[in-house]
């Protein structure tokens, strides 16, 4: 090893936070650092997956990351045979997920894979529209089958139909088989998730690099605006809210929505009038699928979809109703957006020499062809499918708590999916025996222990990276999916060397403009109501559904976010400065800090610390 190479902390030297002793039993052993691979693992780069999993992993939620581990990596390694990469490894450190890419740099191996990759990937690019149409059908069918899976409490006695129909098997057996189908369904959707995604990102990345090589100063934002779809379904949930707001004003029931009451009270109020009932019917008609929309990344059960928690969409509705009442037209000006997209592309094209135009045009055309998939898959997979998936997990949790094996419905999230399988067997066994078993003590105690460990994890600050970074990060999957490149690593190393700079953060310039204001650190959607107008939102990640607050904030800063993250898209839509992928924004910035966000350079400056002002006010 190169002795002069700078490195992050050794992953084997990370201390367990107080109160988290014994945490290892919460997670599968193969996802943890172990002596067997020490020599290899401590020489690699491991980066914290703050984009998708900024919070400690709930053992059940690991199904998401373990599914993508299989799906993404199989496509890279075995299906496409990407010449430059093998799979991405996962490790859990004090509850947080760390990832490590694996590159192929042996020219012979690359050359051997290149023709295989070219043949296979070319087939997808050349048949993109047909394959995408099939993809939509597969994804929709997968979602419908997931919806059809029902977890019902075990009855006091087996229904008579089992006997009259001479079924042979029972409802307890159904519970186990349905759970198997449920897990397989998640696994299946993970394959669809990555079937086309990396190729689409690859096309985009190539166009981005073409633009950068000709226009070194071009921002990711401008490239995205040339490529981004205008009429993609990812925007439909928000579009439905805008339409419902206009409808409410038209029906004369806007006042109920702006009353500030909670969604239940608002709906009670609406039910008292014919117009209100009409509006509610309209609302119900669009909930499936458009309210299967989460305010998080879609990888953690804790963030609920709109359909389960109406507070976010109702807050947005109130805002939209007020705007309609002020005479604003809320419909997205699609023609204007299309014209804007062409104006930017025409502008750059006009600066190219004649022999460069064909390259620009063909890469732009292909990027535009594939990019709707990138935007739309997010709705199908992360929003629609994952929301239903977590709802079903709660349904199953209720079955297990009703059976007495768990204390409360959401205890299930503290168990790994294969432990749940075991618990289901024990529930079946207990139901079969009709007498008390140890099961109802063992699992409740275990969950109580894990809850304490989880709370200890939450107090720990995971470093952005561990181990030894490579000289350069160019492997396209790491760059595009995780927003990590050589500069990111340099930034993190510098931060580690200096023990963290306290007045300046650097991230990706996601949406241009400069704004100064007071920071509001928001970890979860429930905290969004504390946000005051004109504040700067600082969050782990912004999903499009956070758009409900984008109308009120001055700028957005997120820890995570890649070159086409949802945060970037929504910020541009709202014309707000945004900096994504700061890595540490929510940990370094504090609510009340005065900051300046430069969405053109990706810089966030702390102008004044919250504490300093409080001291001043107190006359210290």
């Amino acid at each position: 090893m190169d002795q002069g190479r700078r490195s992050f902390r050794n992953p084997f030297d990370i201390e367990t936070p107080p109160g988290a002793d014994g945490w290892e039993s919460m997670y599968p052993a193969y996802l943890q650092f172990g002596e067997e691979l020490r020599e290899r693992d401590e020489q690699k780069l491991w980066f914290f997956d703050q984009i998708h999993n900024p919070e400690p992993m709930y053992p059940f939620d690991l199904i998401m990351t373990e599914s993508w581990l299989v799906a993404l990596n199989q496509y890279t390694t075995r299906v496409w045979n990407l010449p430059t990469a093998l799979g991405i490894e996962h490790r859990i450190v004090n509850g947080y997920l760390y990832l490590s890419p694996n590159v192929i740099d042996d020219p012979a191996a690359m050359a051997e894979r290149a023709p295989v990759f070219a043949e296979r990937a070319r087939h997808y690019f050349e048949n993109w529209d047909d394959i995408y149409a099939k993809w939509v059908a597969k994804a929709t069918d997968c979602i419908e089958r997931l919806k059809a899976i029902r977890f019902e409490p075990l009855p006091e006695r087996e229904p008579i139909e089992t006997v009259l129909g001479a079924r042979g098997t029972t409802t307890a057996f159904d519970l186990l088989t349905r759970y198997s189908r449920y897990l397989e369904n998640m696994h299946e959707m993970a394959y669809y998730h990555f079937e086309m995604l990396n190729l689409a990102y690859g096309a985009y990345l190539t166009f981005l690099e073409f633009c950068r090589s000709h226009f070194p100063a071009i921002t990711d934002d401008l490239v995205a605006r040339m490529v981004a779809g205008i009429d993609v379904i990812l925007y439909r949930p928000d579009a439905e809210l805008r339409r419902l707001a206009a409808r409410a004003v038209q029906l004369g029931v806007g006042g109920a929505l702006t009353s500030g009451a909670d969604p239940d009270a608002v709906q009670d109020e609406l039910r008292t009038s014919e117009a209100g009932r009409q509006w509610l019917a309209d609302l119900d008609a669009v909930k499936d699928p458009w309210f299967y929309y989460t305010t998080g990344s879609g990888y953690c059960h804790a963030t609920r979809a709109w359909i389960d928690d109406l507070r976010p969409p109702f807050a947005a509705l109130a805002d939209y109703v007020r705007r309609v009442q002020r005479g604003e037209d809320l419909s997205r000006p699609l023609d204007q957006l299309r014209a804007e997209r062409e104006r930017i592309a025409d502008g750059y094209r006009s600066l190219l020499d004649a022999d460069e135009v064909a390259g620009f045009d063909s890469l732009l055309a292909l990027s535009r062809q594939v990019f709707p998939f990138v935007e739309n898959h997010n709705f199908y997979v992360e929003h629609w499918h994952h929301s239903i998936f977590f709802d079903k997990a709660r349904e199953l949790g209720a079955v297990l708590s009703a059976a007495g094996l768990l204390e409360q419905d959401d205890d299930i999230f503290f168990l790994h999916r294969y432990e749940v399988y075991q618990v289901l067997y024990e529930a079946e066994a207990r139901w079969a025996q009709g007498v008390p078993t140890r099961s109802e003590y063992i699992w409740r105690e275990e969950v109580a222990r894990r809850r304490q460990i989880y709370a200890a994890f939450e107090k720990w600050n995971p470093p952005p990276a561990l181990g030894v970074p490579p000289e350069k990060v160019t492997e396209p999957i790491t760059v595009t999916l995780f927003g990590i490149n050589t500069e990111t690593i340099e930034r993190w190393l510098a931060a580690a060397d200096e023990g963290r700079p306290d007045d300046r953060l650097l991230g990706l310039a996601a949406s241009p403009g400069v704004a100064e204001g007071v920071a509001r650190v928001v970890h979860q959607v429930e905290e969004l109501d504390r946000l005051e107008d004109g504040e700067i939102l600082v969050c782990p990640i912004t999903a499009p559904s956070w758009s409900i607050v984008f109308a009120r904030i001055a700028a957005a800063v997120s820890d995570g976010g890649g070159i086409m993250s949802h945060a970037a898209i929504v910020s541009r839509e709202y014309g707000l400065p945004a900096v994504v992928a700061t890595g540490v924004g929510t940990r370094v910035l504090r609510t009340g800090d005065r900051v300046r966000v430069d969405g053109g350079t990706g810089e966030v400056m702390i102008l004044e610390r919250a504490g300093a002002r409080a001291d001043e006010a107190a006359g210290v």
Partner: protein
Amino acid sequence: MTGLPIAAAQAIGGEDVAVTANCLPEHVNDVGGKAVGLGSLLRAGQRVPASFVVTAGAYREYRRGEPGELTPRLREAIVSAYAALCEPHGRDVPVAVRSSATVEDSAEASWAGQFQTFLGVSGAAEVLAKVEQCWAAALDPHVGAYRDGHRLGAADGGVAVIVQELVDARAAGVMFTQHPETGDRSLIVIESSHGLGEAVVGGDVVPDLFEINKITRQQHRSRLGTKHTEHRLAGDGRGVQARPVDPARQQAWSISEPEITALADMAAALEAKLGRGLDVEWAVGTAPSTHGAQALFALQVRPITVPPGKRPERPGRPERPGRAERPGTGPGHDAIGHILSRLAGHEPGSGAG
């Protein structure tokens, strides 16, 4: 008073004094690069301070005469042209007198600053004296050595002199219609400081810097300069003084958002008429012709030149290195092949093999 002599373009060679608007590129040997630049600015519809050009022909006439003495013909031509400049204002207007060498603004070498410039010259006698000094400087052996160093040959094309209304600049500087170092064609780069542009051109100050996206017109980057000195026209219109800038103004931007927008508009208009890759000198201020109102003036335009040894990898002009190694960007470009090649591990820009 008579107006400026109206010379047909092809007749410039025979005139002692030329109308700036008539200075075309083919007259460079008679009027020099700066005057051609001013002519281009005028024809491109820009606001340019009123001026006239004392031609290289006049310089040759001067050299034929007694050293240190102007012939009556030259004297009469210059005095009457200056009088025409002053006529609308009923007083002697302060002007800048600068040499416009016939080699200075060639695309191969930027000789900015090597020739004489006199700011805040007022009255016919002063104008005559400064024109003569410009000519004398052209004979300076030091300038000749510089020229030899650039292997432009010993042929003495002569030196023209521009006499131009001086803008009492509140702020001034330079503008590049593409990035002078990276060659990025999508950026307009503006350097600006308080007072006359001499502070920026002469390197007295670190100017404010603005990079503007040519397409969106949004600011890509800005940097506040340390503008501790400004050059201002003296109160009596005679001479220019360097004076300190108070700390509050050092910390303030030297130009406003609308002025930045106006400059970007100017850059776009000039590129549309004159082609890409321009280096523009400009000023915001008052001139006799604005009657006290602030206005944006274009003072000079030339192709961007790159100092030797600082040549960018991708200069704005067509000859770009590495073109041959970047196949797949031309007609019939195979986008899929390009993407597959990139994902197969070829470095960005290496294209489809």
